[in-house]
């Protein structure tokens, strides 16, 4: 392929699309390589389709693990011909989606900011590592990111949950009745229960419409209200005339010249099953945290026997995910037969419980470090298999059963807690020398163990949920055992950390701009660069870093530094 490009970007998800958007708007010519197929949200999104129109009433299967209509084309926990492996007796669940826009087509759009404590965790409790900047250094970039992608939420002024600039945040949708019911218990117990920030428009932005509160965001949003790169950053970048996107292009490795400096990539064109090399001044990797580590570890040469930009030995290490509870389901008889109204809203939860015991922790009153958020779903949502737990609750049969279902529909809630783990030597990925994917590319092998830290945190999660259920006179429908409360690593699908940034080239892979210490024209623009992972959904921070770091990259290019 002829090299007409300044920058090659690998991956079209959150990080890759933001990078391409910034670089093309700065005037640079970008080639984006995406392993997945092309995807057209306008014609492919099943906005109003009913579950009854789908096989198995839309129930989840290995082919569609989030449900038939969720926009996970060619995605899931397992992908045919693209395996990954585990260390003996260990498990890490890896969710990939092979389509233009990656996992942004179906993410739940929860978009909290990291706060001051989250970037300096080691300074606070002595564990893990600090990031190479403080919240104050990047607060403006969060504002810029929120303005560009569109985020709704509310400024509540909570400790370590920073407010946005007033013009950067759109109004949050009003709470539903069952959410206020939960909030009342929280109010009494001194637990914050506040609006969720989500990358969903409640006001129009550019040519994207505001939400109309009627369709599932995880199916994708053809009107553009829910942020996904395929309806926003990618079309906007294309409009500059500087972006060329090649789908079906599986990048195999980063190429280097005789001095060991990156100068392009080799990819496999899946349509023809042929290998191609393409060159550019700069390579940006945004293939998602683990795929980026895999690419670097597979880019071996005489100059880089342990993989590219890996003299620190940290590539693949420090893998993080939010320790996530198994779901707890409870039934609240007090909600039975309540007045009916449209409870769909913006599809996801409108209120949640962000971590609140920072001072107690600082005083040493808890037996674990770092926090968790508590998520609860419920209400009168469009019926699907299981009826939100009502079908598990059912007893007997006949007319009585029908009456039971009628009155209990909308009286159940499902709780999920998502916490923060401490980076651990037990959690990492490496190349499995024995297994290759369908193109002959060596695959990742995962190592994973929860530490006592996360297990103790999990006990606290469980206790908080039980306290809330009890205060609201609820009945437990499903409750995982105390010592089996956490799902396997990766289940939260917030994997980050595999090529962390830092101040010290011997302990980190990149500087604070995602620029590799060992190769100044190789940039990482996905979650791989996270130095720690707060209990907060990571993608807003991935987007923020990609925006900030792409601007830095553009400046370096304009100065002729690269």
């Amino acid at each position: 392929m002829k090299s007409n490009y300044d920058v090659i970007v690998v991956g079209s998800g959150a990080g890759g699309a933001m990078s391409a958007y910034m670089l093309t708007h700065a005037g640079y010519r970008v080639l984006m390589l995406e392993a997945g197929r092309d995807y057209d949200p306008a014609s492919e999104t099943p906005m109003f389709q009913m579950e009854r129109d789908a096989p198995l009433r839309g129930a989840a299967t290995p082919d569609r693990p989030k449900g038939y209509y969720m926009a996970t084309h060619n995605g899931g926990w397992e992908i045919e011909g693209q395996p990954y492996t585990h260390a003996d007796g260990e498990q890490f669940n890896w969710f990939r989606t092979r389509m233009l826009g990656g996992r942004t087509n179906h993410w739940a759009r929860w978009s909290p900011r990291y706060g001051p404590y989250d970037f300096k965790p080691k300074s606070r409790d002595g564990l893990g590592v600090d990031w190479p900047f403080a919240y104050e250094d990047i607060a403006d970039w969060y504002d810029k990111t929120e303005r560009l992608i569109g985020v709704y939420g509310r400024n509540d002024g909570l400790e370590n949950h920073p407010d946005s600039a007033p013009d950067a945040i759109q109004p949050a949708p009003a709470p539903r009745a069952y959410e206020l019911f939960m909030k009342a218990a929280c109010d009494e117990l001194g637990i914050p229960c506040v609006p969720v920030n989500r990358a969903v428009l409640t006001r129009p932005l550019d040519d994207r419409a505001a939400c109309f509160y009627a369709t599932h965001c995880m199916r994708g949003c053809s009107i553009g209200a829910a942020f996904q790169t395929t309806t926003s950053l990618l079309p906007m970048a294309k409009k500059t005339g500087k972006l060329n996107i090649k789908t079906g292009a599986m990048v195999r490795e980063v190429l280097t010249d005789s001095s060991g400096r990156p100068n392009g990539v080799e990819f496999i064109d899946q349509a023809t099953n042929t290998h191609h090399q393409v060159h550019a001044r700069v390579v940006v990797l945004a293939a998602s945290a683990c795929e980026t580590a895999r690419l670097m570890l597979n880019s071996t040469s005489e100059n880089h026997p342990d993989g590219l930009a890996n003299t620190s030995g940290q590539v693949g290490r420090n893998l993080l995910d939010n320790p996530q509870s198994k779901p707890v389901v409870a039934y609240f008889p007090a909600l039975d037969g309540r007045p009916n109204y449209d409870e769909f809203g913006a599809a996801s939860a409108h209120l949640h419980i962000p971590w609140w015991l920072y001072q107690e922790q600082a005083r040493g009153e808890l037996d674990f470090q770092r926090g968790y958020q508590l998520i609860f779903f419920g209400g009168r949502q469009p019926p699907g298999m299981g009826l939100g737990g009502v079908a598990d609750l059912a007893d007997g049969y006949g007319r009585d059963l029908k009456q039971q279902v009628r009155s209990q529909f909308g009286s159940t809630m499902t709780f999920i807690a998502q916490g923060e783990m401490i980076p651990s030597d037990d959690c990492y990925c490496e190349i499995d020398p024995n297994v290759k994917d369908r193109w002959g590319i060596p695959v990742l092998k995962y190592h994973w163990k929860w530490s006592d830290q996360e297990q103790r945190q999990a006990r606290h999660m469980r206790q908080t949920i039980l306290t809330l259920v009890e205060r609201l006179q609820g009945q437990i429908v499903t409750l995982p055992e105390e010592d089996d409360f956490l799902s396997p690593g990766g289940t939260c699908i917030h994997e980050v950390g595999t090529a962390r940034m830092g101040d010290d080239p011997t302990l980190s892979v990149t500087n604070q701009y995602g620029q590799c210490w060992d190769a100044d024209n190789l940039f990482l623009m996905d979650g791989s660069v996270f130095a720690s992972e707060a209990h907060k959904n990571p993608t807003l921070t991935i987007l923020m870093l990609a925006m900030r770091n792409s601007e830095y990259l553009a400046q370096q290019l304009s100065k002729g530094e690269l």
């Binding site: 569609r64 029908k402 009628r406």
Partner: protein, 233 residues
């Protein structure tokens, strides 16, 4: 045994069934109910082997297809229809399960080539055979020919969580699973959704209003009763 239940192939869906089965190999289900000397051995025929793969990871969401064939025998379908109608009978709010094709859905489910469905297949087919055997043992007739009271006397032993004798546990699991499937199938139909009085999936112009005034009043009354603070939208 009469074929009372007619498959509802015409339900308004975009599902399409593939041409029916290739030479079905016989499968038996290792269930050997206690047979008293005077009763017949229950026989519901044999389900066809699973055929056809899953829909794959890139199936169209706009034109969904079910690529596998249904496998339940005629007799299995008849008893499924009878049990589903006992679970969800017609009442003043909505029709019976078999009026809206619930038995066809059970067949679609147990015929699917995925692990969860394969597991349910065993539970459901064995459970149906157990019901049939109970009918023969106790009333010397097929389950589908029992009157409501007779059928209920069998179901009552497995349908209530607190009344179930320990020795019947696998049958209880069967009934709970079949009920779970029937409920999901039923309340996702147009008629079922109407019965639930579900409001939603309708575009709203402007801001989402949150809890309606009536719903908020109700919640605040409940909260007062619990000694919890009042809320506002």
């Amino acid at each position: 045994m009469s074929d009372r239940y007619q498959p509802k192939v015409n339900r308004r869906t975009t599902l399409k069934w593939m041409a029916s089965v290739m030479g079905a190999s016989l499968m038996t289900y290792g269930c050997t109910p206690a047979v008293t000397p005077t009763s017949r051995r229950a026989d519901l025929g044999v389900a066809k082997a699973i055929s056809g793969g899953g829909y794959g990871q890139d199936a169209s969401m706009i034109h969904p297809l079910v690529p596998w064939s249904k496998t339940m025998s005629k007799a299995q379908m008849q008893i499924t229809a009878r049990v589903c109608d006992l679970i969800l009978p017609r009442d003043e709010h909505s029709p019976a399960a078999s009026d809206v094709g619930v038995p066809d859905f059970i067949d679609e489910w147990v015929s699917a080539p995925y692990p969860q469905q394969q597991q349910d297949r065993e539970i459901v087919l064995e459970g149906l055979l157990w019901l049939e055997q109970q009918a023969l043992d106790q009333f010397q007739r097929s389950f589908v020919d029992l009157d409501r009271g007779e059928a209920a006397s069998i179901l009552d032993t497995i349908a209530y969580a607190d009344k179930v004798a320990h020795r019947l546990q696998p049958q209880t699991r069967f009934f709970a699973r079949l009920r779970w499937l029937a409920l999901g199938a039923f309340y996702t139909t147009e008629e079922g959704i109407r019965d639930l009085n579900f409001v939603g999936n309708q575009p709203i112009a402007g801001d989402y209003p949150g809890a309606s005034p009536e719903a908020l009043d109700h919640i605040n009354q409940v909260l007062t009763g619990m000694g919890l603070p009042q809320q506002q939208v």
